[in-house]
């Protein structure tokens, strides 16, 4: 895939002037009447400016000329592209029924490219297995946006599914509302989530967990970005059904998460036995620290790296 693939033919000539390595690009930021910016290891400003009409045309092209088919995603502020790339869209919103909103005029587009980094979780996977029973423990990954919590989650799913650190692989169910974990496009996982993994794309966590528990007997259920009370209830349901849970949440510290009232019940019941806190330094290297349910650090800070 190339960056060009995100743009209609009449806009491709200007992109051909640049030679970006697709695997190094993390984001393409399109802002109406402002220069396009490409985020690699640094933020690069391009001599390309799109106006209102261009933005609409790009959006239409990204929707494969079937805007109606992306209505549900559009209400959530993003669409998924082939390859599991998540495209954030916003601009002027208009109210719909049920208190929901949809972008009426699309003026800002953020193309976040999904890259697969295998084995980033290799050094920490051992800590999420129970030492006695050898079963995976309920784990919460905490990270500020953009530090790779979904990448880490995906790799943990893969390792749990295939088996790692001397443990047998197990059935893993993934509730992937936005298709970001598995890079799901039209229901098919394009990124490696392991050989014993069943993935539900779309819908919501509650519905997804219910389907997985009733019909797919997963040993572990994984989900991205929990936050609301309904999410907490869903995790409870998975827990009482005998499934382990691995989830991610936005935050910078353990205290941040404990302050989230919606998740209070999960902490009171000590549902999560492991917390993985992702942080970064000034050189953008990422680290993971692992804590138990009482907040005790289990091992030193580990650098997150992809291994071949």
């Amino acid at each position: 895939m190339e960056l060009l693939d995100f743009f209609p033919e009449n806009m491709r000539a200007r992109w051909r002037q640049y030679s970006f390595c697709f695997n190094e690009v993390r984001e393409i930021r399109l802002r109406v009447n402002h220069s396009v910016r490409v985020l690699c290891d640094r933020d690069i400003k391009l001599a390309i400016v799109y106006d209102e009409r261009d933005m609409e045309e790009i959006f239409r092209y990204l929707c494969h000329d079937s805007v109606y088919a992306y209505e549900e995603e559009r209400k959530q502020g993003f669409i998924m592209a082939d390859g599991g790339h998540r495209i954030g869209i916003t601009g002027e919103l208009t109210a719909l029924e049920n208190g929901r909103y949809i972008a009426k005029y699309i003026r800002y587009i953020n193309i976040r490219l999904a890259h697969e980094h295998k084995n980033v979780a290799r050094e920490i996977i051992n800590h999420i297995y129970d030492a006695k029973s050898g079963q995976p423990l309920n784990t919460l990954i905490i990270s500020p946006p953009g530090l790779g919590k979904t990448t880490l989650l995906r790799d943990m799913i893969r390792l749990l599914s295939n088996g790692a650190a001397g443990h047998e692989g197990c059935n893993v169910g993934v509730v992937d509302e936005r298709g970001e974990i598995a890079g799901a496009y039209r229901g098919s996982a394009l990124l490696d989530c392991g050989e014993r993994t069943d993935i539900i794309t779309g819908g919501d966590k509650r519905q997804g967990i219910s389907i997985l528990v009733r019909t797919f007997s997963p040993r572990v259920i994984a989900m991205d970005e929990i936050g609301g009370e309904l999410d907490a209830q869903s995790i409870f349901y998975a827990g009482v059904s005998g499934c382990g849970v691995i989830a991610t949440v936005h935050g910078s510290t353990l205290e941040d998460i404990r302050k989230k009232r919606e998740l209070d019940a999960l902490f009171e019941q000590e549902i999560f036995k492991r917390f993985i806190l992702i942080s970064s330094d000034s050189s953008l290297s990422r680290y993971a620290s692992i804590y138990d349910e009482r907040g005790n650090e289990l091992c030193g800070r580990k650098q997150l790296r992809a291994y071949a």
């Binding site: 033919e9 092209y61 109606y68 088919a69 209505e71």
Partner: protein
């Protein structure tokens, strides 16, 4: 009698051909409408699925459009659809009137919501239904006329030989 039959055949051939195209186009539109209503499928997938059910030349047409869209080479659905329609007409696979309807279908794509898209397609589908009904009636009338002409021509021949 043979002459009368020949005349009748020539008269009806074009009409039947057009009728076939209209019926296939209607079938295609109904397929699109149903897929959008129930599964919110994007056009590329609808065309791929429709290609299995439609007759030629619409089978190749929808399959070709779906393939082109899958290439993601920067062309919009309207560009692909128009080019394929023109090609089909150029190759003599589609009468001019049927090509005009196909072009209109191409112009109706790109609506923002399910309902809007369905309504846009439904409008053309209804027009096609009316046209099909009208042509079927005309076809029936012309068949009757040809049958009568054939009988008269036969009688004329008999009288002539006697």
């Amino acid at each position: 009698m043979t002459g009368a039959f020949g005349f009748g055949y020539a008269l009806c051939y074009e009409m039947n051909r057009l009728l076939f195209h209209y019926k296939e186009q209607k079938q295609m539109l109904l397929y699109m409408i149903n897929e959008i209503s129930f599964l919110h499928m994007p056009m590329q997938e609808i065309f791929a699925a429709a290609s299995v059910r439609l007759k030629e030349p619409y089978q190749s047409f929808t399959f070709g459009v779906s393939e082109c869209m899958g290439e993601r080479n920067g062309r919009t659905l309207y560009d692909i659809w128009s080019a394929k329609t023109e090609q089909m007409q150029k190759d003599g696979e589609c009468p001019k009137a049927a090509s005009a309807i196909l072009m209109r279908i191409g112009e109706s794509f790109g609506c923002e919501g399910d309902k809007m898209q369905i309504d846009a397609l439904r409008l053309i589908e209804e027009e096609l239904s009316e046209e099909i009904a009208k042509m079927s009636r005309e076809n029936e009338e012309k068949s009757r006329l040809i049958r009568t002409l054939s009988i008269l021509a036969g009688l004329f021949c008999i009288v002539l030989f006697i």
